[in-house]
C-alpha cells in the first residue's frame, strides 16, 4: 500500500514539475513579446471576420529548405500575434527532405530552393510551387596574401563570369593565374603562388542548383549542368573538396588557406566571410546586396515564370544585376487538402507574408529580397486556385 502511494507521489512530483514549468510560461512572455513587437513597428491587425477560433487550435506543419529558415521562423512567430488560433511550425530539414515530405503528404507545406522535377510532380500529383523571397549565392574565399604591408587590408577579390567557370572547371587553379591577376591589379603583389582549393557542397542542395545554373549561363565551357548535385570537374582535376551544408562549406573555406567556395549570402554575412565581387553580364562590377538582387529580379520580371510559377533568374543583363540569384519556393498540394479550416488558415498566412508591410520589412531586414509587385500578383492569383474538397479555399 505504502509502496503504491509512494510511487504515486513520485509521479505527482514529476507532473508538478512539468506543470510548474508550463505555468510559469503562460503568464509572462506574451506581454514581453508584445512590447518587443511594438518596438519593431509591427502592424498586427487580426484579419478575422467570423467567430475567432481558440488560441493554438490550428496546427500547421512545414519542413524543407534551410535557406529561408530565418525569415520563416520570424514570420511564423509574428503571425501568432496576427492570428493566435494558428500555430505554424517550420523545420529546416533541407530542400530534398522538404520535397519528399510534401510528396509523402507528411507536412502541410514544404520549402524548397530546388525546383520539382517532372517525376516529383507525378509522384505528388497536385503540387504547385510559389516563389516567396529571393536571395543570392556568393563566392567566399580565404587567400593567404603575402607581403601585405602592416596596417593595410588587401582589396576585395573581383572575379568575372568566365574566370569563375574556369576555376570550378579546374582550368584556373592557381591564385597567380593571369586571369585572376588581370582582374585584381590591386592584389597583384599579394596573391600567393598557391593552388586554389575549390570547396563545393557534398550534399544535394538548392544552393548548388542556383550556383550551377549560373555557371551554365555564364559560359558554354561549363558542361556539368545545373542541378542540386553535379559531377564537379574540379574533383577530377584534383583540387576540389566537398563540404556538407552551407556550414560545412564555410568551415572548410575558413580552415583551408587559399580556398574558395560558394554559400548563401546570409551565411557569408553572419559569419563575416569575405565574398568576391562579380563582373556581371553588362560588364559592371557588382557586390551582392539587397539592391543588386532586386535589380536582377526586376530584369527578369513576371515573364520569366512558367505555369508552375518557377523561374530561373541567373545572369541578368541589367547594369546593376548580381548574377547568381534564385527564388526560394513554398510547395503546396492544390487539390488534395481535406482539412478546410487548416487549408484556409495556411493560405491566409501565405497571403499575409506576401502582402503585409511588416512581413516585407522583416524579410528585408534579414537580407532577403521580396517579390516584385507583378510577380506577387501572379502568386496571389495562383493561390486563389487552391481548392479543398472541391471548394475554393480563398474567398
Amino acid at each position: 500500500m505504502s509502496k503504491i502511494t509512494r510511487s504515486f507521489m513520485f509521479v505527482l512530483l514529476a507532473l508538478a514539475f512539468v506543470l510548474a514549468a508550463c505555468g510559469g510560461n503562460s503568464a509572462t512572455p506574451e506581454t514581453i513579446v508584445q512590447t518587443q513587437i511594438v518596438e519593431k513597428e509591427v502592424t498586427a491587425q487580426p484579419a478575422m471576420t467570423e467567430e475567432p477560433l481558440p488560441a493554438g487550435s490550428v496546427q500547421i506543419n512545414g519542413a524543407g529548405a534551410t535557406f529561408p529558415l530565418p525569415i520563416y521562423t520570424e514570420w511564423t512567430y509574428a503571425y501568432s500575434y496576427v492570428d493566435p488560433a494558428v500555430v505554424i511550425n517550420y523545420q529546416g530539414i533541407g530542400s530534398g527532405g522538404g520535397k519528399k515530405a510534401i510528396i509523402d503528404g507528411t507536412v502541410d507545406f514544404a520549402g524548397s530552393d530546388s525546383l520539382l522535377k517532372a517525376e516529383e510532380y507525378d509522384a505528388g500529383k497536385d503540387l504547385q510551387m510559389y516563389p516567396m523571397v529571393a536571395s543570392a549565392v556568393v563566392v567566399i574565399y580565404n587567400v593567404a596574401y603575402e607581403n601585405v604591408p602592416d596596417g593595410t587590408t588587401p582589396a576585395k577579390l573581383v572575379l568575372d563570369r568566365q574566370t569563375l567557370v574556369d576555376i570550378f572547371n579546374g582550368k584556373v587553379n592557381n591564385w597567380t593565374d593571369p586571369a585572376i591577376v588581370e582582374l585584381n591589379p590591386d592584389l597583384k603583389d599579394f596573391l600567393p603562388n598557391a593552388t586554389i582549393t575549390v570547396v563545393h557542397r557534398s550534399d544535394g542542395s538548392g544552393t548548388t542548383e542556383i550556383f550551377t545554373k549560373s555557371l551554365t549561363a555564364f559560359s558554354s565551357d561549363w558542361t556539368a549542368g545545373g542541378a542540386s548535385s553535379v559531377e564537379w570537374p574540379v574533383d577530377q582535376a584534383g583540387n576540389g573538396v566537398g563540404g556538407k551544408g552551407n556550414q560545412g562549406v564555410s568551415a572548410a573555406v575558413i580552415n583551408t588557406p587559399n580556398s574558395l567556395g560558394y554559400v548563401e549570402i546570409s551565411f557569408a554575412k553572419s559569419n563575416g566571410l569575405a565574398f568576391a565581387d562579380l563582373i556581371n553580364k553588362s560588364g559592371n562590377k557588382v557586390t551582392a546586396s539587397a539592391e543588386s538582387i532586386a535589380s536582377d529580379m526586376a530584369t527578369f520580371g513576371p515573364e520569366a515564370f512558367d505555369d508552375k510559377l518557377t523561374a530561373t533568374i541567373v545572369d541578368g543583363d541589367g547594369a546593376g544585376d548580381y548574377p547568381i540569384v534564385g527564388y526560394t519556393y513554398l510547395i503546396l498540394h492544390t487539390e488534395s487538402m481535406t482539412d478546410c479550416v487548416k487549408a484556409g488558415k495556411l493560405l491566409e498566412y501565405v497571403q499575409w507574408t506576401l502582402t503585409d508591410a511588416s512581413a516585407a520589412k522583416r524579410a528585408g531586414d534579414l537580407g532577403y529580397a521580396v517579390l516584385p509587385g507583378a510577380v506577387r500578383d501572379a502568386v496571389l492569383a495562383k493561390l486563389g486556385e487552391v481548392t479543398c474538397n472541391g471548394e475554393p479555399v480563398m474567398k
Binding site: F10, V18, A21, C22, G23, G24, N25, S26, T28, P29, I32, V33, Q36, P54, A55, G56, S57, Q59, N61, A63, T66, L69, P70, T73, E74, T76, Y77, A78, S80, V87, I88, N89, Q91, G92, I93, D104, G105, T106, V107, G245, N246, Q247, S250, S266, F267, S270, N271, L366
Partner: protein, 322 residues
Amino acid sequence: MTAHTTAHQTNFQKLIEKNHASVSLRRKVTNAVMLSVTGLMTILALIPLFWIIGYVVYKGGQYINLDFFIHTPRPLGMEGGGVLNAIQGTLIISGLASLIAIPPAILAAFYAANNPNTPLGVVLRFSTDVLSGIPSIVIGLFAYAIIVKPMGHYSGFAGAVAMAMLMLPTIIRTTEEMLKLVPHTLREASLGLGAPEWKTSISVVLPAALNGIMTGILLSVARAAGETAPLLFTALGNERYDLGLIIQSGIAQKQGFFEILKRVFDQPVDSLPLTLWKYAQQPYPERIEQSWAAALVLMIVILLINIFTRLWVESRKRRLQG
C-alpha cells in the same frame, strides 16, 4: 619445542629473505610501473569525460539563464528566447517511450530468465543483440515508414515509438541479467510456501532485482533522451510547441481529457538534442550560443533523472533493510 619452532621460523624467514633479495626489486619495479601505467590510463580515460562536462558547463553556462527554461524560442534578434518546448518534448518523448518499452521488455526478460534454453528464449536473446546493433537512424527511418507515412504527419508519438525500440534491447538484457542474479533458493522458498508462479515473480523476484532493473531502465532512458537521429524523421521538431498553451486551448474548446492528450502526442515536438543539432548548424552566433546552452540543459535534465531515480532506489533500499 620453542627453540625448534624458532629455528623453523628462522629457516622460513631466511627463505623469504633469500627470495626477496633475488626477486623483490624486479617485483617492486614491475608493480610500481604497472600501477602508474594503470593510474595514468585511468586519468587519460577520465580526461575526455571531465573535459566535455567542463567545456559544456563553461560554454553553456555563459548563455544560460532562467528565461532559457521557461520560454519557447524567439526569432533571431529577439532577446530572451528559451528551449521550454525542447525540455517538454524531451520529457514527453522519453516518458511515453518508457511507457511503451518497459512493460514488454520486463515481461520478455522474465521469460528469457526463466526459460533460457527454449527456442523462443534463444531467439529473444539473439534478436535483442541484433536490435541493439541497429543504427538509431535506421530505427528512425523504420518508424517513419510504419507510423509517420501512414498517419500522414510527424508526431511526438512516432518519436516515442522509435525511442522505445532503442530502449528495448538495453532494458531486456539488463533486466534478464538482474533476474538471473536473484538466488534460486529465494524463488524455491516462495514456491515451496505455496505461492503461485506469478506471485513469486511479482512479489519476490522482481523486488529483489528491482535496483538493478531500475539502473538498466535509467541507462536506456538517458540514452534515448540524448538521441537525435531517430527523431529527425519522426518527431521532426517544433519551436512552437507549448504544453501550457495546448492544455489551455483544449480546455477553452471544451475538449475531453483524451482529446487533449491526443493533441499533446499527435503533433511534431522538439527535443533537446534535436534543438542542439539544429541550432549548431545555423550560421548565427546567437544560435550557436543557444546550442551550447541547450547542451548544458540536456546534461542537467539527464542528471536530474539520474538523481531522482537514485534517490528512489536508495530510499527503497533503506526501507527494505530497516
